[in-house]
């Protein structure tokens, strides 16, 4: 099936089986390997991307369901020139070690801070509870997201 959508601001057209998940489509058809697969059953959050601005688990969405949507991956939240304020905050607070869960945290945090730049620590923890990190123990991640709030406030 041919499916057309937008990824990181660019229009794409893919011809894929219905059973191909959005996660696999991004990684293998579009070679955007920043989105990672940790469980394929919707628990770990490593595959989180933004669909029309909302954080979703891309392993639970079919590529063909993405028709007409605007998708943002971790690559779309990055630039070559410099780290974004959110990324800088992650680095400062040592909010990553092996890096495998990190793209999912970046996209989730970006969605949260865009919608709720005034969120408090409890809200941050609650929202991040849908992403599993095995290395850091979360303390640095929560601190990083809290510090990044300033850059999302108008």
């Amino acid at each position: 099936m041919t499916t057309k959508f937008e990824v990181n601001g660019k229009p794409v057209s893919v011809d894929v089986e219905p059973r191909l998940t959005l996660a696999d489509c991004l990684r293998h058809e579009l070679r955007l390997t920043g989105t990672h697969i940790g469980c394929e059953h919707g628990v770990c959050g490593a595959c989180t991307v933004l669909v029309d601005g909302e954080a979703v688990r891309s392993c639970l969405i079919l590529a063909v369901q993405a028709e007409g949507t605007k998708i943002t991956t971790v690559e779309g939240l990055s630039n070559d020139a410099d780290l974004t304020p959110l990324q800088k905050s992650f680095r400062k607070h040592h909010a990553l070690q092996c890096g495998f869960c990190t793209p999912g945290f970046i996209t989730t945090a970006h969605a949260l801070l865009t919608e709720e730049p005034d969120c408090d620590a409890d809200r941050v923890r609650e929202v991040l509870s849908g992403n599993i990190c095995r290395c850091t123990g979360y303390i640095g991640i929560v601190d990083a997201v809290l510090e990044a709030r300033a850059s999302y406030k108008k």
Binding site: E17, R19, L20, R27, R31, L32, T33, G34, T35, H36, I37, G38, C39, E40, H41, V43, C44, A46, T73, V74, E75, S78, L83, Q87, F90, R91, K92, H94, L96, Q97, C98, G99, F100, C101, T102, P103, I106, V124, R125, E126, L128, S129, G130, N131, I132, C133, R134, C135, T136, G137, Y138, I139, G140, I141, V142
Partner: protein, 759 residues
Amino acid sequence: MKNTFIGAPMERREDLRFLRGRGEYVDDVAMPGLLYAVILRSSVAHGRLVSIDASAALKVPGVHSVITGADMPGGPPIIPMRLQPLPEFKPFEQPVIAHEKVRYVGEPIAVLLATSAAIGEDALEAIAVEIEDLPPVADWQTAAKNQSVLFEKPGTNRSLVFQARKGEADAAFANAPYVRREYFRTGRHYGLTMEPRGVMATWDDATAKLTIYGAAKVPFFNRRILSAQIGLPVEQIEMIENDVGGGYGARGEFYPEDFLIPFAARHVKRPVKWIEDRRENLMAMNHAREEECDLEVACARDGTILAIRGEVHTDMGAYMRTNGAVGARNVSQFMAGPYRVPHVKIDSSLWMTNKTPVGTYRGPGRFEANFFFERMIDMIAADLGIDRIELRRKNLIKSVEQPYPIAHVQPTDAKDEYDSGEYSETLDRALQEIDWPKLEKLQGKLIDGKYHGLGVVCFIEGGAAGPKESARIEVNKDGTLSVYMGTSSVGQGVETVFAQIAADALEVPIERIHQVYHGSTAYVSDGYGAYHSRSTVMGGSAVLDATNNFMATLRQAAGKRMGCAESNVTLDVDKVNGGGRSMALKEFAGLTAEGAFLNKKHTYSYGAHVAHITVDAKLGRIEIVDYVVVQDVGRAVNPLTVRGQVLGSLVQGLGGAVLEDLKYDENGQFLTGSLADYLLPTATDFPNLRCVVLDDYPSPINPLGAKGAGEGGIIAAGGCMSNAVANALQSLGAEPRQLPLSPTYIWELVQAGRKQAAE
């Protein structure tokens, strides 16, 4: 050597690619002409493998081939043990694919190659396997009956007994004024990594060369194993370590797939990729920690510990894996932890069962020992009417006693001694950080429906396993420097830490260290890897040696080219100066020198955990109010990453103490098959954690003075949480004797305690 970078909390270089999603993990590596491997795994726990019929699967469009043990000339090779490779273990080692029998749910039976993983999984269902059921062995007690044996040749399910001995324990017990005996259990859990495993192999027929991607932890050792199994010289095998999504002891050991995938690539002469999915990972990655312990402690009336004696039984799963014996060995040698115990007699039995085989998980055997012994200390303190903190202080090893010899383990003839440290200082600091005097009146109090409890435990962490590590320094074309390591990265920040060490050793700005390359066999002539918290000590010390050799080599070359004495040559950022002349370092592009660090001794980092928790006794829910870890690491090369290790390993430990539990039924059927069943800590589970990292007592055994420090957070979590729960529920008579501290278990303890009080 100036310390501009060593000791600085430098932000990590690795982050620049990881934050942008530009890390390259094995599944991110593309390869033309790839076939995807999927593995047919046994759904039977114990049985005779009668037949495998892949004919229907081969007819599925997109399926290329199916490989079984029958395709391996001489039968499937056996995976040898890497650590404690005792002859007694040989009959229990694992064939790379099921051979004549299946012994655990998840054991590989066949490898199917297809044009996509999806087609491969479709076709797996069409492979017909006939297995004759055999009586399953689902726990150590059943194993001990030896009625159903997993391995006919040895005829027993016990592969070995480790014996840890010191002094004369039986005599000490015979004369002891006070003895307490208890039975404890730690539940099965493992070092689940967020990135499941993966192997990709390419075979170049023209050069007879095998290239393997997805290596981790011990690539040089694994290359030697593969070379022997597959009949290729090591020079014909290259192992490439990509970015690695966590290790924790579990990833990187030689697993069946580490033979099967390269074998498949060579067999079909096409590149083959296998990416483990989570369902597989839960049943195929090394399990750990399932131990039961019958422990006795003898004391004087004033609380001085005289002797410990006991039996530990480890549920090893179906095969002896490459590092499977470590936990069972460690629990016997380190049962006494940081305490002075003159007499030790611990027998640690390894029982084979029809479950996923066991390997190491961060703090192997030490997590269990800490739980067993620290629970005992609290119980003894209550019995003797001695304050449990004073009891610990009285028995903690003092700095003047260092190096302190610990129990001797046979049959591996393992002798060891703790290196340096004043253990009571970290205890004092932890109590100070949490403000113990203010909190102690809360112990056992019921406030707003919750019982308050405090836990306090001490630990040691062993690190820096030898025997050797290598590093190499090379001048790049642009005059920057590259560092090549024999150690591996599992996410701990080696690219940054080794750059700090190299930059300080060479006295150049850190930007001059262009890149640190790790793990791949192409980088150094001989490497060892990342395990037993060794990278900073072993790798870091190897880097120091490499910088020394590099400077000597540079001086020699520069002396010749500039016509001056070698001793006059200096390196200044990007210039080489000597005898009044100066050359750019890039003129020496290609200049390289290796270094190594040899070590037979372990380092012993140490510390204390103190926790304030509440328990809702009706729900069985634990909440952490405050939790402090204080750890002395000898020398913190990068305080930012050390803190990350302490906190990260602490949360893993809390997961093992409260949430994580791999479960089987009485038929060896695996019950925790998804992440909805196997519960990992999330951001809301364990808030309010903090740590203090000290470096007051450097290690005398390496030039950095550093101690391996990645496991201290995990080691004491079970002991601390269980003591905190006991403290909270003391009025209800609840004494935890097993982990995990699930809601059901806590509730059952309260019911049992109430019942006992009523009787």
